[in-house]
């Protein structure tokens, strides 16, 4: 790993922390990470700490407001399923959907459109929870994107339209699994990165 004793920490990681960090101590965490980076910690360490800080902050907020978190995940998942259904039943014929490949420009375009839509919906969701704006916008966008992605992957893998109940149940189930995993206690010792 590259050691950096005087330069600026990775800008993208710093932006990620500022944009998605949900901890009330986000500014102090960013300052600590910058101080450690300038004291000789590696770029990999900085990135890893940034990601852990985002996940820990998010799970902390979600654990504190379980009902709001469940509602955000529920709404995100349901909207993703509705969006996916609409896309496959009305906007794009099933024959085209099943002929898509993961690397095709059409699939990439659909993903970009879906992500953009989810971010806008996320902003709307966040305005409903003004006290916990950032945490719930992030939670909502993740649940929307992951459910949508699971629906599409299932469609592409099984070459069947994602309109069956099993697809929806699978999407929801996997979504709740990661949330449960994220909420199942925080551990101080979560990093194994080289210093």
């Amino acid at each position: 790993m590259n050691k950096n004793t005087s330069g600026e920490p990775p800008r993208i990681a710093t932006w990620f922390l500022a944009a998605f960090g949900c901890s009330p101590d986000n500014d102090a965490i960013a300052g600590d990470l910058t101080e450690c980076y300038r004291a000789g910690r590696s770029r990999g360490w900085y990135w890893w700490q940034t990601l852990v800080a985002i996940v820990v902050g998010l799970s902390q907020e979600a654990r504190r407001n379980k009902l709001l978190a469940a509602r955000c995940i529920g709404v995100g998942s349901v909207l993703a399923i509705v969006f996916s259904e609409l896309l496959q039943r009305v906007l794009i014929p099933h024959s085209i959907i099943t002929s898509l490949r993961f690397v095709s420009p059409m699939f990439s375009m659909l993903l970009i459109v879906a992500c953009a839509a989810s971010i806008h919906l996320g902003k709307a969701m966040a305005s409903l929870h003004s006290n916990y704006r950032r945490a719930f916008a992030v939670l909502y966008v993740i649940s929307f994107c992951s459910t949508l992605y699971i629906c599409w992957i299932t469609t592409l893998l099984t070459a069947a339209p994602a309109r069956t109940t099993s697809h929806v149940i699978l999407g929801g189930f996997i979504n709740y699994l990661w949330v449960l995993r994220a909420l199942s206690g925080s551990n101080l010792f979560t990093t194994r990165m080289a210093r």
């Binding site: 965490i29 960013a30 852990v52 990093t191």
Partner: protein, 97 residues
């Protein structure tokens, strides 16, 4: 408890970096700064520690330090935990393996 003890060891003015380093040094394992702050926030919510913001410094990219210190309630809690642990260890056969 580890975070509380680290704060006590570091004394007045302890903040995220020294607390993280102290836990890493004493435990021999890597610690996430974000997780330390999550623990500190929980302790503050319970009234076991207090915090105050310091002045922003250039080495931290213009961000301020958040200093923590243990309250009387925190000290009482630590003494209680110490007593409990001593009692639990008492009478145990020597650990082998």
């Amino acid at each position: 408890m580890m975070v509380l003890l680290s704060l006590l060891r570091l004394g007045e003015g302890a903040y995220g970096v020294p607390v993280t380093n102290e836990i890493e040094k004493q435990s021999g394992r890597s610690v996430a700064v974000g997780s330390v702050y999550a623990a500190l926030e929980r302790l503050e919510r319970k009234g076991l520690i207090t915090s105050r913001w310091g002045a922003p410094t250039a080495e931290r990219g213009g961000r301020a330090k958040k200093h923590f210190s243990v309250t009387a309630g925190g000290l009482k809690e630590l003494r209680q935990a110490q007593k409990t642990l001593i009692n639990l260890w008492k009478g145990l056969p020597e650990l082998k393996g």
